[in-house]
Amino acid sequence: MRVPLNWLREYVDIQQTPEQLAERLTLLGMEVKGIEQWGADWRSVVVGELLTVEKHPHADRLHLTTVNVGSGEPLHIVCGANNIAPGQRVPVALPGAVLPGERRIERTEKMGIASEGMLCSGDELKITTDAEGILILPAGTPLGKQLSDLYGDVVLDVDVKPNRGDALCLIGLAREVAAATGAAIRWPDIAVEEKGGPVGERLRVEVKEPELCTRFVGRWISGARIGPSPDTIQMRLQAAGMRPVSNVVDASNYVMLELGKPTHTFNGAAVNDATIIVRLAIAGERLETLDHVVRDLTPDTLIIADPKGPIGIAGVMGGADSEITDATTEIAIESAIFDPVSIRRTGHRYALRSEASLRFEKGQEFRLARLGADRVAQLTLAWAGGSCAGGRIDTSPTEPAPARLAFRPARVSKLLGDDIPIANQRDLLRRVGIETEPASSGVRINVSAEPKPLVVDPGSAEVLVAVVPTWRRDLAVEADVAEEVARVRGYEATPAHLPDTLMPAYRPSPLKVRDAIREMLVGAGLSEVVTHALVSPEHEARLKWPVDGEDRPIDDPEVGETIVVTNPLSSQHSVLRRHLVGSLLDVLALNERQGRADVAVFEVGKGYGRAGGEPREWTRLALLLAGSAQPASWNRAPRPYDLDDAKGLVELLCRHLSLPEPAYHADERGFPFHPGRAFSVSEQSEHEVLDGRVAELHPDVTAEWDLRSQRVIVAELAIRGLADGLLPRVYVEPIPRFPEVERDLAVIVDDSRTAAEVQATIARHGGELLRGVRLFDLYRGAPLAATEKSLAYRLVFGTNDRTLTEGEVDEAMAAVRDGLAADLAAHIRS
């Protein structure tokens, strides 16, 4: 809320500088987000007196004026306005002046006559909305004074929190200033001179929905003359960020800013039968609102109607037909209290939220209905004349007494962690208008309110009762009193110390496995990325990453359907991703556009899906390799990434997590994979801990993503423990005491045999002395047949209780050879 300080001073004395006041308010919980010098953009605009006003010899609509600006020779200024006369005091923009909107004023020539500046309209200065005439200043305005010194103001931008609707006005903020500085509040003197007949003869009000409109106060003014409101009022409204409209509308807006009470003024003549009905809309009813939009009203909308139909949406916006116009003379004033939830829903329903509805939504002090109606009537009479009908229509004239809220001062101290004496607490509360008194016996404490109320017997604890001012609708439970004590005292007075209470039990961090993997992959040369979880639906359609059973996340039985955002910001981010690979392709594309060809990235992130109406989330590791694994260097040849790099990373990962060797199974489905360069991976333990897919992408995918990289290697892995696991423990094998024996074996097999088959066969036949098998060479070509290949393995034999004899090893090797021959029709190259 914008708070012009000169306006605020009407209600409370301010001794502090704006900066000091801003800090005090901020520390009290009314955060000042900005301090604006209003009028700072009137540079070199001074007060002048018109000495002469004559017709311009060459232009009918222009005048030649001479203006005394307090010093030096009178200035000759050409002016186009018609409301000027000698003797008037007016704002004069001197040559070199800059007006709002960075408009520069220079010495010019108009129709052959020099003009040494400009006389300003209210609109040109953004003081009033009058663009036709020159702003005529009061007669006594000091000559030669800078206008900004006279009319400039300091405007505080105060962030009023949603629970403090009472402070969304000058009176409310004046109360906070008073609490901060100890100054006293000055209420405006609200009194209405009633010259007309009884209001009941002019206006009838029927409230059909007393639950939704708990109070309706109406007044009637006859014979008003619509025109601009006084310049000072327009200036205040402008400084507060509200556009002046006319004296009657300005009166209503002024009261909203002053008291926080939204009211509405109708053209009384346009209210049929002078009867206002507060009711729910009927299906099919329509209303053109003040913003000239015709709205279809839904039956749950609370409206203001006359016997012929709707004339306003209650608490949100009035209707165009009953708008105050220049011809209006009869004014009906509505000052009502509406149900906050109803107003809020209506505002959302019509995407129409006004300054009025924002205040209604936060709840209104009950007596404001009366005060608001009276204040609007008073200001209308002052600014537009006319006579006010006697009395008010009031559907609920009984105003409730202040609520009483019992609290235990000792609890307040305990919550704040500081012993604040009771007398102190009472003084602090008094500064925000909360009187306290001793509690009677049997009083109960509201610890917690709706929707989970908890009311307790205080037992022997000392209890005080806070008399809550009627405007403080936010104070409902004991903790609310604690906050008032704390904020008025100043949070800086709260001591700071480290907790000395019990520690919680140990719990392993769910980030542990993730962090280990992240560190490892970064060490292996990959960079971590964090991408959007919200992606385009195209993503999934373009990539077609398999979602079959094989691919299901380990920690979740089903990937399920895609979750769709029902109110997305853009279609680019409208669904939750099920897979991470598409996001990594986006990262590659972005970096390629920046000229980066070598991109090796990974993300540990979530996939999302829905199954059986329930959301599911799982954590995955995805990686992408494109460009050079080894960028060219003066001392090394470059090498492009290939599938083996991804495998190496998977194997490193398994070692790092103490998992068994992973097994690879070719995936020859084709798109989105290279049909000959894709596989699924799982490690071979009893409890599957890792699975997923590793592939070189099909060229059509890279084309789809407009990628320059010819070969893009990707992987997406589910790893048990990624979400919340521990790193597996290492169990140490004793260092062998007896030497191991190594033997090499070159196995020639048909090309269709996989390395995995050959290795598994060796392991199967190697016997218990075989400790390890490692492929060290792959050969195709002469003298082998074209359909053959040779795989060379190094076999390691050993046992823990003796040195092996040659004979034992020969025997084991023979068994391996025989097994290979029998199972795979392999022969051994010697």
């Binding site: 500081d418 700071a496 960079s527 829905r610 109406g613």
Partner: protein, 345 residues
């Protein structure tokens, strides 16, 4: 053959050998000399073959001379060998000289993303004070995200969190990590010291300081006497750990799920508190929101507010990272331009 002529032969052999050894210039020739003079079929052996013709009494004397000659040649060979080795080695080393100012062979290492790294920095500090990490779902239900946090439907404070909804009835994308408080309270008993890092979503247009996806870290501490003074003490430690010895400020804030509520400011990291555009001339930067857990929230969490009290805090990870690393634009984080990420080496 007599003793005199034999020993003269030996002496001349010695003189010849020493001369040749001194003249030799490579290890291979030196080795050839060793064989020539001292080998089984070498010159020394050949001379000594004549020893048999000597009278028995002369033989030991010749033996002594021969030993002397042998030792002298051996010694000369060793000395010359060492010299030659040193020469050869020096030559080799000289030939192996490199320009040490050339850059090294690149060892590829990637970079960790600043978001998880900032989360790690935050959890590290609170971890020292016994806070343990939990995680909650990102696709939340309205009940946990709002209602149990004291925001029933149509509560005006819901405006503080513009929400993205999903096609699962009653569900939304969590707008903050605060629903995690509820998840912790529902699964564990006090004493509670919990941290909840994670991704959040809001219906918010993207610019340099806003995004529809961002990360938060929530903290929750509940025990019998946990007070606002504990909160203040911990937050001071945290701010000093991450931002150094700067002034901090504790002031009233507003959240429906805390009472009293707190905004926590740190002296502006750009201007040091003097006032600059980065801190809107206030000299302060707000780094997190906090407060004492509202009794309604404790009740929803199954915790008796008469017995227990506690505090919660929530901070934007990007905000913390921005201040620590002077990142000018929030969009950098999820865009993953390597020119940005590479800087975190």
């Amino acid at each position: 053959m007599d003793f005199e002529s034999l020993s003269a032969d030996l002496r001349s052999l010695q003189a010849r050998a020493l001369k040749e050894i001194a003249e030799v210039s490579d290890p291979a020739s030196l080795e050839a000399l060793q064989i020539q003079y001292l080998g089984k079929k070498g010159d020394l052996t050949a001379v000594l073959r004549g020893i048999g013709a000597l009278p028995a009494e002369d033989r030991p004397r010749v033996g002594a001379v021969a030993n002397e000659v042998g030792e002298a040649v051996k010694g000369a060979l060793a000395v010359r060998g060492a010299e030659l080795h040193a020469q050869v080695q020096a030559l080799r080393l000289a030939s192996e000289k490199v320009d040490v100012t050339l850059p090294g062979r690149p060892v590829g290492r990637g970079t960790l993303h600043p978001i998880p790294e900032t989360i790690a920095a935050i959890t590290e500090v609170f971890g020292q004070f016994g806070f343990v990490v939990y995680e909650g779902p990102e696709v939340e239900d309205d009940l946990t995200n709002f209602q149990m946090l004291n925001m029933p439907p149509d509560h005006p404070a819901r405006d503080l969190w513009d929400t993205l909804y999903v096609d699962i009835p009653g569900h939304l994308l969590r707008t903050h990590t605060s629903p995690g408080q509820m998840r912790v309270m529902q699964t564990t008993r006090p004493p509670i010291r919990a941290l909840l890092p994670g991704r959040c979503f809001r219906y918010e247009a993207v610019d340099a300081s806003h995004g529809f996806e961002f990360f938060q870290v929530e903290g929750l501490m509940v025990d019998e006497g946990t007070s606002m003074a504990d909160l203040k003490g911990l937050l001071d430690e945290f701010a000093h750990a991450l931002f150094g010895p700067r002034k901090t400020r504790f002031r009233p804030g507003y959240y429906p799920f805390t009472e009293p509520s707190v905004a926590f400011d740190v002296e502006c990291v750009v201007c040091g508190g003097v006032g600059c555009p980065a801190c809107s001339k206030s000299g302060w930067m707000t780094i997190l929101g906090a407060g004492m857990v509202h009794p309604v929230v404790l009740q929803y969490g199954g915790i008796d507010p008469e017995r227990y009290q506690g505090f919660a805090f929530g901070m934007g990870v990007e905000r913390i990272a921005n201040l620590r690393h002077a990142v000018p634009d929030l969009r950098y984080y999820l865009e993953n331009d390597l020119r940005f990420l590479d800087q975190f080496r």
